[in-house]
Each structure stands twice: as C-alpha cells, then as structure tokens.
Symmetry: C2
Subunit: 332 residues, 2 copies
DNA sequence: TGAGGGCATAAGCTGGGGTTATGAGCAGGA
DNA sequence: TCCTGCTCATAACCCCAGCTTATGCCCTCA
C-alpha cells in the first residue's frame, strides 16, 4: 500500500469505509454479539485508544508515540492495525502530520468514553490497593463507591496527584465503625439517619425512580403514578434488607410487592430492560439506560423516594487536608 | 502459593489488599498518571474484564472460560494476573466454585462500565463499517452520533441481531442530502428548523446549559442567572458557526462574548473543568462531569437554550421495518 | 466408592506489539 | 539551490503474554 493510497480525501461527511476486510461474519449469538471473538477481539485495546486520542490531540503519529513512550513505527503500525480491525480509515497521514478522518473523529469520541471509564477504574483500583500506608482513607457505602467515588477520585488526583487514597466499601454500619476506630478519615453513606458519633454534611440526593422498558404501558402514561398504584403493583426489586428496598418500603409503608427479587442492581436493571416489568432503582444506576431509552422513567405523584447522600466524619474531627479537598469536590 | 493462601476470608466489608506487589512508584506526571506505563499498563484489558464479568455471573472460572471459548487454565491464569496487576484479591477460589471478593464486586462494577462503553464503541464501529450493502442506513448529526446513537444501536442489536446498520455522520444539510438521494433510510438532526423535503418527529431535547468549575463564584449563586448577565460575560465557547454557538447566539440575540474559542466540545469541557471560566454546553456532553461535580450547572432565568432533537425522513416515506424499530427506541 | 465438577501446575507454541535501522516526501531558511 | 528538520513508511528481528494440552488434587453427591 503506497503512501496515501485509497483513503486520503474521504470527503466531507461520513464514515470512511476502507476497502476489503470482508469480515461480515453473520454468526451472532442471541444478543447480537459476533460469535467469532468476543468484544475484546472486535474492539481495539486501551493502548490503541490512548494512542488514537494522543494522535487526535497532537496531530502527529510521532508526537503521540513520543508522549506514550513508544517509537514512531510502533505507533504507526498500531494505528494501522486498528484501522484494519475496524475496517475504517481513521487518520489521514501526510508528510506534514496526521489529521483525523471524519469517521476517525467519531471513533475517537467513542474511544474517549472507554478511556474515561478506564481512568475511573484505575482511580478506584488504586484506592483499593492503597489500603494501609496511605494518606487519605475513605470509607463508602456501596452505591456511592460504585457510581460516584471513581469520578471524584479522578478529579482529586488532578488536584493532589501525590496523595494516595485508600478506599473501603461497606454498609453504613461498617463505615461508621471504621471512622470511629480511626481506620478511615472520611466516610460516605446514603440513607436517612446518620450513625451516632458522626457529624455529616449532605452532598447530594439519591432519588429512587420508577422505571420500565419503553414498551410497558406505564411508559406512555400521561399522569403521574399514585403511591397506592405503585404499592399495588408487583415490582422487580432488590432483595429484602437492601438499602433501596428499605427506602421503598418506608416510603410506601412496608407494602412493596415483589414480582421478582434479585440480589444485584445489575440483575434488576437487566430484568427491567428485558421488559419483565416495572422496577424501582436509584437514578444513579440508570442514567445511561435513561438517556438511551432502554429504560423510561415513570413519574410518581405522592411518594418521596429520595434519600440523602452524606459525607460523614467522627464528631469533632472536621475533615482537613486531603479529606477536606475531596469533600469540596462532592459538595453542592 | 498454595490453594487458598492469604486471601480467603477478607472479612465482611472492604477492599481486600493482597500482600506484596510493592509497586508504589511515586513518579507521576502533572495529571497524576503514573509515568511508568500509561493507563493500558495499569488497567486490565477488555478480555480480562469480560472474563471477570462472566465469572461473576456464572460463579465458576471453568464456566466462564467455556463461555468465552477458552480453556479453564487460561481463565484461571488470566484472573490471577489481573489480581497481581491490581494488587487486590478479586475472586475467592474454592473447590466448589468461585465467588467474588467484596473488592472483586466493586471492581466488577467498574469494569462493567468499561465493557458497556466498549459495546457502544463496537456498535458504532460496526455501523461505520457497514456502509454499503446494509439493511438500515442511518445518517446523523455529530452530537447525536456521538452521544446517543451508540446506545440506541446496542439496544437495537438486542432486538434485531441480524440487521446490519450503517452510520453516516455529518451536519444537517448532509443528512438531508443523503436522505433525499436515498442514501439513507433514517436521519437524526438537532436544531430548530427541519430541512425542506423531510418529515420529522421530535425525539428529545438537547438543552444547552451553563456550567462552571465548582470553584467559580457562579457555582454558589442562589438566584438564576439573567440573560443579560450571561450575554455580558465572556464564555468558553465552540467556534463561531458551530451548532451550539448558533443556538446560543440566537437565544441571546447574537451577543455571546467568547472568552476562548475552541474547536471541539472536548476541548471546551477541559477548559471549563480546568476553571478557565463559565461555558455553555449541551447537557448530553456534560452528564458525567455533572454527576461527579467536576462541573456545576448554573441555573439560567429567562433564556431558552433548548433545541429539538428530531428523527427525519423523506416526506412521504414513513419509516418502516428496522428504521421504524430504531425510531421507536428513541421516541418519547 | 466412584463419577463429575471445580481448581492448580507444568511445558511448549504462537503472534501481536515492540525495537533498531533506514529511506523518502515536503517545508522553510541560508 | 541545497541543507536541515519535521513527517511518515518499510524491513528484519525479538520478546513475552496468553493460549494450548496434559495431568493431578480436592471436594461433593448419588
């Protein structure tokens, strides 16, 4: 393949489809995944994505290579193999630098999503690893640890790159225990009551919302759902004793009727998306599903399904230093 | 290392820190990234994440291996090397199966985020690749292609696994052109006006919102911002001619004053997060930043910064088949 | 007590991604 | 005009991560 063969211009608008490739393997499983090679075989790896982002930012393969600490030929071949894998020209190589194709710009944006999720993963994993011998020890309840903390940690790391943050996840009681035993500097809990011995600040709200698949009759309701109606309808729920279940029971007066009981938020989401019925979930857990309309929010009239998200610390020990900084990142 | 050495119990709540590892390399760059090895070296690859999810779901290494089409030793060693890399015990291996550690459960949830982003990437890439010779040809404007379409495609693929979807991204005019030339079956545009020759249905709204870094004075305002105040303040903006800029100018009467002009949404976000000043951005673009409070939304009083998101098709040619199905996934 | 499912260990192969070394297109200044 | 410096490409070689097959131990259950 000679210098600027084939791709080059790729005109003003669309997805550049590079020739050949021919891999239109029709075999798919029941979820539409190709059977030959799972995701990892069809999606470039993180290194390639980082490289692509660097190329996009710097406008040069060699520059990107330098930034990532590899050589220019390595970068070039990596990008090329990514293009081969995707069957789409991503960068327009010229002797004066490399610019993204239109398709490349789109792919880069999607790649950025993945890299951001990976950064959150990394920040969380780092915190998990930093257990002892660390400077800022955070204890958090599951929902917060799952959905919010990784993002905060990414932000915190931008401000305090040298602070090792350690994370410990558990229920409210465990968080309180750790704080009081001075095993943690700052805690995060969700729920109405604050464990005794702790001071707290509200940092946000976790609303439970009623959701259904778009096909469900409730998705087309024009008027909000009444509490009684909600209480009378069997719902896809977390198991009894779970945090969200407690809040729901309290709001309805202990009446929530389970259609199915599942032991993880993910399983509940999957069931709801699959159309098994309406469910009640934390809005933190279903943001993505709502924007892509895999789930639809059903407005509710006379029930308050909100619980506070709070930062907590031992009474008297106002957060200072890194803890204070983290707190300020989270606060409304 | 013998059978159940070391990790095992790890009691009821937290992040299990496996011994050793010792890789607390202090060297970090200005963003807190470790210099030795970029993200890709600190984060397990997609294959490992998929494997972990499978183990979580099936409760067995061998079962997960079977599902992914690899052998049991391969799965075992892969998980083990992931644990070594993260410095945390993830699964509790027993002769009767494998369950996740508490830390493992957390890590699995974070991993799921990455895998979901990768699925969206894959769906988009597949559509980009399927240019010609496909059954459903979609043309979409950039914002929609970037933030919404991948999710819809994932959902559509669940319903119609065998339909090849092709995607073409461009501005409104390009979308219209493709539809009228019968180069596309369904289009998506944002903006107030519908190109002539096309019918449309509103499928959502893209609100532009005013955001700042949490440290900015506006972040602590108690009262909404007046339009005049917004118009009088220099803002971080996309370049003149961009879609969001047009809407903003229209809403303010052509008065928006740029503090900095940048040519990509990502660059604008980065500047705003960095505290360079207030900005106006699509709410689709800043969802993540808002929930993690890297950016804060500033309420605005008397300006309507909404534009419709519309599905469009050639007048008369009501969407049918897969196009209709996709439309129903997006519709309110 | 055997059958079967679970996991571990060991030895060997393969290929993707890295490296060095070299050359060629294009711009801008002496 | 030619040199210098940036860009990218190609070629030959190397290494190790991750896979495989083969085998064995642990535990449970009929």
């Amino acid at each position: 393949m000679s210098r600027s063969a084939g791709n080059g211009a790729e005109s003003g608008s669309g997805g550049g489809s590079v020739g050949g490739v021919g891999a239109t393997q029709g075999a798919r499983d029941d979820r539409g995944r190709s059977l030959t090679g799972s995701l990892a075989h069809r999606v470039p790896d993180l290194g390639a994505m980082e490289l692509l982002l660097a190329v996009a930012r710097l406008g040069s393969l060699g520059g990107a290579a330098r930034e990532l600490g590899i050589t220019q030929p390595a970068a070039s071949s990596r990008i090329r193999s990514m293009e081969r894998q995707l069957g789409v020209a991503l960068v327009d190589r010229s002797p004066r630098g490399s610019r993204l194709t239109d398709a490349g710009a789109l792919v880069t944006d999607w790649a950025r999503r993945i890299v951001e999720a990976a950064e959150a993963f990394d920040a969380g994993a780092q915190a998990l690893r930093d257990r002892r011998d660390s400077r800022l020890r955070v204890a958090a309840s599951m929902t917060i640890a799952e959905y919010l903390l990784p993002g905060w940690l990414v932000a915190l790391r931008a401000q305090l790159p040298d602070t090792a943050v350690s994370l410990l996840a558990g229920n409210s009681a465990a968080v309180a225990e750790r704080l009081l035993a001075d095993d943690a500097d700052l805690g995060f809990v969700e729920g109405v009551s604050v464990p005794t011995g702790l001071d707290s600040a509200v940092i946000g709200h976790d609303r439970l919302i009623v959701v259904t698949a778009p096909g469900h009759p409730w998705a087309r309701r024009r008027h909000p759902l009444a509490a009684a109606e909600l209480a009378a309808t069997p719902l896809i729920l977390r198991e009894e004793g779970s945090g969200t279940r407690q809040v729901l029971d309290a709001a309805l007066g202990g009446l929530a009727r389970p259609l199915i009981e599942l032991s993880s938020t993910t399983a509940v989401k999957a069931a709801a998306v699959g159309g098994a019925g309406p469910s009640v979930l934390s809005e933190l857990a279903v943001g993505e599903e709502l924007t892509t309309r895999r789930l639809v929010r059903v407005p509710v009239a006379d029930v308050v399904l909100a619980r506070d998200l709070r930062a907590v610390w031992p009474t008297g020990h106002r957060p200072t230093g890194p803890a204070r900084r983290l707190l300020s990142l989270t606060r409304a």
